[in-house]
């Protein structure tokens, strides 16, 4: 189980990330990915630093961040759970799974459980289309997820799992 290793916002680290990548052609997406990977989201403070380094306006950077579903500007829960909403998963019961997940967690898409443990997000296809419904937790993808399997997974996210094998 992959846990997001959220590091608290540090302008110095952010600046180092930006400086390392800023001379790449088309550097903005690589920078945004690197910032989000490190801090688990893209804070407002980062937008100013990026804009300055790439000689863009803050509005331009914000425009790019807001265009892409993957980028987020608020800190997520400890785990991000993404449920595939696309057709191949629909044909295997994803609509029921979505409803179950929202009810079980008590949140809608783009929301975080009150204990800040799980953020629920929709995703359109994980490429696991013969064995759906599929969900992604961190970088792990799970196949054949029904309501019971979903509950098991959520339970395993409540405590830090100890790998036995």
């Amino acid at each position: 189980m992959t846990t997001l290793k959220a590091v608290a916002w540090e302008p110095v680290t952010a600046q180092a990330i930006i400086d390392e990548l800023k001379s790449k052609p088309g550097a903005l997406l690589p920078i945004l990915h690197a910032i989000q990977d490190r801090f688990s989201y893209i804070p407002d403070e980062a937008v100013s630093l990026i804009a300055q380094a790439l000689k863009l306006t803050r509005a331009e950077v914000h425009g790019v961040i807001s265009f892409y579903h993957h980028f987020r500007t608020h800190q997520p829960g400890r785990h991000v759970v993404e449920i595939c909403r696309a057709e191949a998963c629909q044909s295997q019961g994803a609509r029921a799974l979505e409803a179950h997940a929202k009810a079980a967690l008590g949140v809608d898409y783009h929301q975080t459980t009150p204990d800040r443990n799980i953020t629920l997000e929709p995703v359109y296809c994980l490429g696991n289309c013969s064995c759906g419904p599929s969900i992604r937790v961190g970088n792990d993808i799970h196949a054949d997820v029904d309501a019971a399997r979903f509950d098991e997974l959520v339970e395993s996210l409540k405590t830090d799992r100890v790998e036995i094998l």
């Binding site: 052609p25 088309g26 550097a27 903005l28 997406l29 690589p30 945004l32 990915h33 790439l54 425009g63 790019v64 265009f67 892409y68 579903h69 993957h70 980028f71 696309a86 057709e87 191949a88 998963c89 629909q90 044909s91 295997q92 995703v123 359109y124 296809c125 994980l126 490429g127 696991n128 289309c129 013969s130 064995c131 759906g132 599929s134 992604r136 970088n139 792990d140 993808i141 799970h142 196949a143 054949d144 094998l165």
Partner: protein, 524 residues
């Protein structure tokens, strides 16, 4: 004696527990004092059998699947590592499984056999032979070979690849820089063939792109891979590093004097970035807004320079063509659809997976002779071919041969070869609504019919489903579809109506049925 055992490592196999199976086999082998070497292959793409554990023998590889954690003890009790033994999960010699044996795996000849990251494995099975041949040819000769092969864009648009390459070869670059861009933003639901190339045979894509670079005089390549595919990105980066370390990328490749650099860039969850001009904007670090064409990307592409934008499968077909010859590729197929297409049988299907076939068999053969019908066991009712912008086909169209022109005659598309099957519990008005809803979420916003039309489409379908003025609203929805078709720059707005129109035309009863029950409810 050491027994060699292969455990798949692609995303679906992992999602079905392959990593734990691999570790358990090692642990239990130690307990049983059996000397095993566990290798991680890619996957054969026979997904209902995952985790498919294979054992090397002199006769070939014997398979056991689908293996779950609880099966490991009984497998060891049956001494499965010897291969040809009795066990409920034994599937015999893997290459003799009819599902696999009946395929024509031109592009996927190594998948599931090799360790994806082993350059030795890749070379042992014809790897880099195409590049070696290409190095001996002139740019024009490489382009001619691709033209002769009849290869057409496998992303879905089916534009002849050789002609695209010719354009880029012929046009001068103002900055003396041309680019090869690989579109690995495989966002269509029901497709995973690009992912399989990148996860299970990444050197093939590197080789294909390098050949493309030699063909058009491009020295820089980018693979734009979606962020939903973390393992693809990891494997590509690893294979690219190996290629650099072995002088298969970089300066003076294999002493040829040719230069080609390659880098992976990650998308960020925008379906529209699978559209080539939107992808280029994204690579340049911008919002993925679609560009008007002309100018074509072949002439004014990435950073304004001449650029080849090809799908993963198009580029992955190139090493075969340069190795085995254009004729070997063009010899199979139907009509103007030459060569093979890796179909992906998905959704509610009993035997889902990758089925690479020469164009020509019917959709029905693919869904029943390979797919085995639905996983639920209920009657198959509708099939969406070609992703979320592809039409839904009713039973009367399942005899259509799998070919580009054959499908367009039925107002349908083959697209990227994804086939998503639905049983008779599907509500087609709900599917039509989803098509519009998806367009709301994924439209880049440039064209009004796509940006606003999709929202209005959801509303109109909701009214139809609620039984309000059904006839008038069905007419309004038809009109709206026409407007989106005619008034959108790219396929997002221009094709979203396909699934909607096909649902309205072939499954009218689902729209009317909802209407009727809503009216009844009101009367009661």
């Amino acid at each position: 004696m050491t027994f060699r055992i292969h455990v798949p490592s692609d995303t679906t196999a992992k999602a079905r527990g392959a990593d734990r199976i691999a570790r358990l086999i090692e642990i239990v082998a130690e307990e049983h004092k059996v000397d095993v070497e566990v290798r991680r292959n890619g996957t054969r793409g026979l997904y209902w059998l995952e985790t498919l554990v294979e054992v090397d023998t002199d006769a070939g590889r014997y398979g056991f699947g689908p293996v779950k954690e609880g099966d490991i003890e009984s497998l060891f009790a049956a001494e499965f590592y010897k291969g040809n033994v009795d066990h409920p999960l034994a599937v015999g010699l893997v290459e003799e499984i009819p599902y696999l044996k009946r395929q024509e795996r031109f592009t996927f000849s190594r998948i599931g056999i090799n360790d994806p990251l082993s350059l030795e494995d890749y070379k042992a099975k014809d790897g880099f032979k195409g590049l070696a041949n290409a190095i001996q040819l002139s740019s024009q000769e490489i382009v001619d070979a691709v033209k002769e092969s009849g290869l057409r864009g496998r992303g879905g648009a089916a534009f002849p690849t050789g002609i695209k390459w010719q354009t880029v070869l012929d046009v001068p670059s103002p900055k003396n820089q041309k680019y090869i861009v690989c579109n690995a933003d495989e966002g269509d639901s029901g497709t995973f063939a690009d992912r399989l190339v990148m996860e299970c045979d990444p050197f093939m894509l590197i080789e294909g792109m390098t050949i493309a670079g030699l063909a058009v005089g491009a020295t820089q390549g980018y693979i734009y891979c979606r962020s939903e595919y973390p393992l693809s990105i990891e494997n590509l980066n690893s294979a690219i590093q190996t290629a650099y370390d072995n002088n298969l990328l970089g300066a003076d490749i294999q002493g040829s004097g040719k230069h080609f650099d390659l880098e992976v860039r990650m998308g960020a969850g925008a379906y529209i970035c699978g559209e080539e001009t939107s992808l280029l904007e994204s690579l340049e670090g911008k919002r993925g807004l679609v560009r008007a064409k002309p100018p074509l990307p072949a002439i004014v592409g990435l950073f304004g320079q001449p650029t080849v934008v090809n799908n993963v499968l198009s580029l992955a077909a190139v090493p075969f063509i340069l190795d085995k010859g254009a004729k070997a590729y063009a010899d199979v197929g139907v009509g103007r659809s030459r060569g093979t297409l890796p179909f992906q049988v998905a959704g509610n299907v009993k035997f889902g997976g990758l089925v690479e076939l020469a164009f020509g068999p019917t959709l029905k053969e693919l869904m029943f002779e390979f797919g085995g019908g639905t996983r639920s066991g209920r009657p198959l009712r509708a099939v969406q071919v070609g992703g979320p912008l592809g039409a839904y086909l009713p039973e009367s169209q399942w005899d259509t041969p799998l070919g580009y022109e054959e499908f367009s005659q039925k107002e349908a598309v083959l697209g990227h070869g994804g086939v998503v099957m639905f049983d008779d519990t599907v509500d087609m008005s709900e599917q039509a609504r989803f098509s519009m809803e998806f367009c709301v979420a994924e439209s880049c916003g440039k064209c009004t019919p796509c940006r606003i039309g999709s929202t209005r489409g959801v509303e109109v379908i909701d009214r139809i489903r609620a039984g309000q003025n059904v006839d008038a609203n069905m007419e309004l929805l038809s009109d709206l579809c026409e407007t989106m078709l005619d008034g959108s720059l790219c396929a997002m707005g221009g094709m979203t109506p396909f699934p909607v129109q096909s649902a309205m035309k072939h499954f009218t009863e689902d729209f009317v049925k909802n209407a009727a029950s809503a009216t009844q409810a009101k009367e009661v």
